[in-house]
């Protein structure tokens, strides 16, 4: 097995990384937790689909329709293999993680959550794993509770016991990796507690799946969601995986074409899984592009991806912690975090930091990262966030650190 990435080689596949920004500064793209860049292989797959195979799927009998259907369904098989999923019909294509979680809240949640029940989430969730549960619990007069985090940005899992002991918890939902702190959740421990209490578990895998080997059978959760665009694929495609025994009990999310077996004036029967949950013409071209992204990652190997990011994160934490006036959030234990580093620089607002270093070509995210509950817990309005992927280099980290000097200079720090 390959042990290190040839980043030079990888970068050649990403045309955007060759461009300059602002005053001819080379682009240093460090906002991968938000979205990743796309390699030629993905762009070409989408192009090829529209140029040569475009037709609607699952309907017509002519050649193009067969080719389009085959290409679309091939991605489902690739996902099954990539994540060690047993049944391909458990994989539902959606627009992204947000839609996946909303689907669960709407379809499963409305049928299973009633007054007085509890949904448990965590303090470091993205808004997409908070707001759908607020909507559901408000509608059902149920309660939303939070597993807190300690000062190292790790979940205080003991708090889960208290909620589980009430016997009222209907779902525990958490992200496998925090999009702000990079913390990797202690998934085994959480799931074994939930199993013991026979409480279903939803995992938001949007930040984890792109960066580490994930084995869904091994995780043994009930719902799992992630997005293509954070793993070199196109925007507008994501996946909801649901354990078959649970999926079979669920009502449809959207009604319309493709999700039906027979429609009469006053009643309809549903199509087989997973099509029952894929109403309307889906985002065919981008699902095909997503397949190319998975091929690309498989070629590198997810273990190699993880090792590259550990290496880079270690280097960045070391280098950044030496910068005067910097505050870095989250655990220092490299085994417990992914390639996401949130920080503040003196008391300069993150917007100002990000704006100034953008002039040096360095693209980082600033703001609340759709995690305002976490911002409140950290007692900050916002943070800066640098996040890495397969094409990032130590030179990118150096550029980030150097660009902070400009901020210090302007603000006379």
């Amino acid at each position: 097995m390959q042990t290190s990435i040839s980043v030079e080689q990888i970068r050649k596949d990403f045309p955007i990384l060759a461009r300059t920004v602002r005053d001819n500064k080379p682009l240093v793209y460090l906002d991968n937790a938000s979205t990743t860049q796309k390699p030629n292989q993905v762009i070409d797959a989408i192009n090829d689909y529209y140029k040569n195979h475009n037709a609607n799927i699952h309907r017509a009998v002519y050649a193009l329709a067969e080719e389009a259907t085959e290409a679309y369904e091939a991605t489902r098989d690739k996902i099954a293999k990539f994540l060690n999923i047993k049944n391909r019909e458990e994989i539902i294509f959606v627009r992204g993680t947000t839609e996946a979680i909303n689907l669960v809240a709407y379809s499963w949640g409305r049928a299973n959550v009633k007054e007085g029940d509890i949904i448990v989430t965590t303090e470091y969730e993205h808004h997409s794993n908070i707001v759908p549960w607020q909507l559901l619990t408000q509608e059902k007069k149920a309660r939303l509770e939070y597993i807190g985090i300690n000062d190292d940005g790790e979940l205080i899992i003991d708090q889960l016991d208290r909620y589980l002991s009430t016997g009222k918890v209907k779902l525990v939902t958490f992200s496998l990796m925090s999009n702000v702190l990079g913390t990797i959740s202690e998934v085994k421990e959480i799931i074994s507690k939930c199993k013991a209490a026979t409480v279903p578990v939803l995992i938001d895998g949007a930040q984890a799946v792109p960066h580490m080997k994930v084995d869904i059978q091994n995780l043994d959760c009930d719902f799992f969601a992630f997005s293509a665009h954070k793993m070199l694929g196109p925007t507008g495609v994501g996946v909801l995986w649901v354990r078959k025994s649970v999926l079979e009990t669920m009502n449809p999310f959207h009604g319309g074409g493709d999700m039906i077996r027979e429609v009469h004036k006053y009643e309809t029967t549903w199509n087989d899984l997973p099509y029952k949950f894929e109403a309307g013409t889906p985002n065919i071209a981008d699902v095909v592009g997503f397949g190319a992204a998975i091929d690309y990652l498989e070629k590198i190997g997810m273990q190699t991806v993880r090792e590259h990011e550990i290496d880079l994160t270690k280097y960045a934490l070391d280098k950044m912690s030496k910068v005067k006036g910097i505050t870095i959030y989250g655990t220092k234990d490299i085994a417990k975090r992914g390639g996401v580093i949130s920080f503040n620089f003196h008391d300069v607002h993150p917007h100002d930091v990000a704006h100034i270093i953008d002039r040096e070509g360095v693209a980082i995210r600033s703001g609340h990262h759709c995690a305002q509950v976490l911002m409140e817990r950290l007692n900050v309005a916002a943070t800066n966030r640098a996040s890495f992927y397969v094409y990032n280099t130590k030179e990118d980290v150096d550029s980030l650190v150097k660009s902070l000097e400009k901020v210090a200079e302007l603000f006379k720090l």
Binding site: H349, P350, H351, D352, H355, G367, H368, Q372, A381
Partner: protein
């Protein structure tokens, strides 16, 4: 070193903002946030004889947001409500040499004008309530279409 956005005047204004704080019994208290970044401003006003007798603001904002809020409060403190109602975004921006933001930075213009939006919303609530009519809908519309 000079910078087109982070001029000394802006950095100084943000470092030592005026009228920061809260009022004990405000006649107007209005809050709003920028959904993109989570910056939030609360503006409080005491009205006396139809003029802005006192004004304070509190909240979290970047340099641009803080500097503009500070300037806005200075521009309207002691002035009558009609004056405050009609204050234009260009006036605030030009005080800090930020007119270029309108054209050049659709994202940062939101930082600059958040407090003006809060002011317009606050005055709208106050006037519509006090005079019990809706002749002030234009204020609400102005607030909504600032940026």
């Amino acid at each position: 070193m000079s910078d087109p956005l982070y001029t000394e005047i802006i950095i100084d204004e943000a470092k030592y903002p005026q009228n920061k704080g809260t009022l004990e019994h405000p006649d107007i208290s209005q809050h709003d946030a920028n959904p993109m970044c989570g910056d939030s401003i609360t503006l409080q006003i005491n009205v006396k004889d139809n003029s802005i007798n006192d004004i304070k603001w509190d909240g979290k904002g970047c340099t641009i947001c803080t500097a503009c809020t500070s300037v806005l409060t200075q521009l309207i403190k002691g002035k009558d409500i009609d004056h405050a109602k009609n204050i234009r975004k260009e006036t605030i921006l030009s005080e800090l040499g930020l007119e270029h933001l309108i054209q050049q930075s659709p994202i940062r213009i939101k930082c600059a004008l958040l407090s003006l939006k809060v002011l317009k919303l606050g005055l709208y609530s106050y006037l519509a309530n006090k005079l019990e009519n809706k002749n002030f809908d234009n204020l609400k519309e102005e607030a909504a279409s600032l940026y």
